[in-house]
Structures are given as C-alpha cells and as structure tokens.
Amino acid sequence: MIRTELKRGTAELAVLSVLEEGPLHGYEIGRRIEDRSRGALCYTLAALYPLLYRMECRGWLRADWVTGANGRRRRTYRLTPRGKKKLKPLRAEWADLFRALRRVAKVSHA
C-alpha cells in the first residue's frame, strides 16, 4: 500500500495523464487512476478535488457542466493547451526521479 504522502506527489501527473485521453468528470478521473494503477493509487475526495480546483485555477484544466446520456449534469474536466504543455516536463521529472531511485535504493520496478 502506498502511503498518502507519497501518493499526493503523484496526483498531478496521474490526473493530467488520464485527462490526456479525453474529458472526464471527477468520479471518472479517480476511478480511472485507480483502475490503471490496479488499486495502488486511490484518491479520496479530500485529495482529489482541491487538486482539481488548483489545476483549474492554474489554467491546466477547464471545467464545464455537461449533461450525460442518463440526463445527469456533471462537471467535466478537460486538459487545456497549458495543461498539455505541463505534462511533458512532469513526465520527464518523474522518469528522472525513478532512475535516481533505481540507482540509489535499487528499486527494481520503479
């Protein structure tokens, strides 16, 4: 199980990565991250929503109310060009960190 402090740092990259594939609402974002990480990254509301609001205010995401097929209106988040731009260096940063950890701590599958 990954500790909360460690997960918090990963959230930005995780959210931007799942939104790269298309617009999603908050629940779907959390669900998709959880599925992709096979349950290792599971964010509570307290971790996810302040982050979404912060990313929205930084201009990385845009949110709109969208009516779904079942008639329910949900706040859907999409990546902005600025968010797309942010994703590449963020990925590179994490890749550097994993490489460094592999060398230092002999983390084999990082």
Binding site: A46, P50, L51, Y53, E56, R72, R75
Partner: protein
C-alpha cells in the same frame, strides 16, 4: 438512497465566500459520492456497507474544506494578478514609454526654437494618447473577467505611481530643505498631483470607460460577428 447533497452540505460546512460557488462545489462532490455509492451497490454491497465505504472515500471533511479554501484563495490571487496588476503593469509601461518617446521627439523637433514651450507640447500630446493606453489596460483586465473597480484600479496604477513619487519628493524636500516654507511647497505638490496624477488618471479612466462601452455594446462589430 441517501441524500448526498444534504450529507455533503452538513459535513463540509462553509467552503467558499460565494454561495453560488459553494452550491456548485457541494453539487459536484455529492455527484461523486452518489456515483461511488451506486457502484458499490451494483457490485453487491449492502446499502449500509456501501454508505460506510462511501463516507470513508470522502476522506477527512476538515482536510477537504481546508484544501478547497486554499485552492480558491490561490484562484483569487491569480485573478487579482490578471485583472488588476498585469493590466496595471502594461498600462504603466505604455504610459511611461509614450511619455519618454514624446519627450525625445518634442525636444528634437523643436530644438532651435526657444519660443515654443516644449513641455506643454509633449505633455498635451501625452494626455491625448493616455485614453488609448487606458483602453488597452481596460481590455486586458476585462479579457480576464475584470469588472468595475478592478478595471479602473488596474489602469490607474501609472497615475498612482506618479503620485507616490511626488509625495516622496515632497517629504524628502521637507526634511532636506526646511528653509523653504511649507506654504510654497504645498501648492507645488497640489499642482504636481493635479498635473501628473489627476489629469493622467482621468485620461486613462476615460479610455477604460470607452473600451468598456464598446465591450458591452451588443452592436459592436466584435459581438455582431459572434452572433
């Protein structure tokens, strides 16, 4: 089915100064919890079990409220920068650049003609150009959803900057040159404030106001295109 909106409202408490914004947040969080709850029920959890798991998924309500408030505070600061300080900086650079340019041009053009009051020429031209600079600042502020006092505060930054300089000079001269009577310095300060703050400020505000009228006017060419 639990009333998730009521549950979120009760558990979260005050999370925004704006009631419409707060309602939007509550609605969004309630939608999330409801969907989580329904997914658990669909996967065979009992209603009690699903309710307990959904409440646990929310995490700490205090932490959530603090996180939202902090994110919104960041948003407010970013808005102030975009709606007030950035237009203020652009307006300042624009007005001071025009002033410097006109001074250079006026001094060059009228060199050798001592009878022509250069100062008045470039100063009058500057005042004429300032509404255009103010309109630019107003446009920038309104582009980022600035309204009312935010727009005018932004475009008034250069005039306020000059006022600060004049007051600072007045204070320095009062301390450094106590022999000159205050009755002579005060009128000079008043004239300086009028000429370098009030009149330029009025010019900048006039430009911002005219830009605002154009921005609002539904028959303006920009709006007509979008219709």
């Amino acid at each position: 089915m639990p009333d998730w909106r009521a549950h979120v409202r009760q558990s979260l408490g005050k999370c925004s100064g704006d009631s419409a914004e707060e309602e939007r947040i509550i609605r969004e969080l309630a939608e999330h919890l409801e969907e989580y709850y329904l997914a658990l029920c669909d996967n065979g959890s009992s209603e009690e079990e699903a309710f307990a798991k959904t409440c646990a998924q929310a995490g700490g309500w205090d932490e959530l409220r603090r996180g939202i408030l902090s994110a919104k505070q960041e948003e407010t600061m970013q808005e102030r920068i975009r709606q007030v300080w950035l237009p203020g900086l652009v307006t300042s650079l624009g007005s001071y650049f025009v002033l410097a340019l006109l001074q250079r041009v006026a001094i060059r053009s009228f060199a050798g003609h001592p009878g022509i009051p250069h100062g008045v020429v470039f100063y009058s031209l500057w005042l004429v150009v300032l509404p255009v600079v103010g309109a630019g600042g107003g446009y920038l502020s309104r582009r980022w959803d600035g309204a009312g006092w935010q727009v005018y505060l932004g475009v008034l930054v250069p005039a306020m900057g000059l006022a600060v300089i004049l007051v600072a000079l007045f204070l320095i001269s009062t301390v450094a040159g106590p022999r000159v009577p205050l009755l002579m310095k005060l009128p000079a300060l008043a004239v300086g404030i009028l000429g370098w703050t009030v009149l330029p400020g009025a010019g900048l505000c006039l430009g911002a106001a005219l830009q605002g009228l154009l921005h609002r006017n539904p028959l303006s060419p920009v709006r007509q295109e979008s219709v």
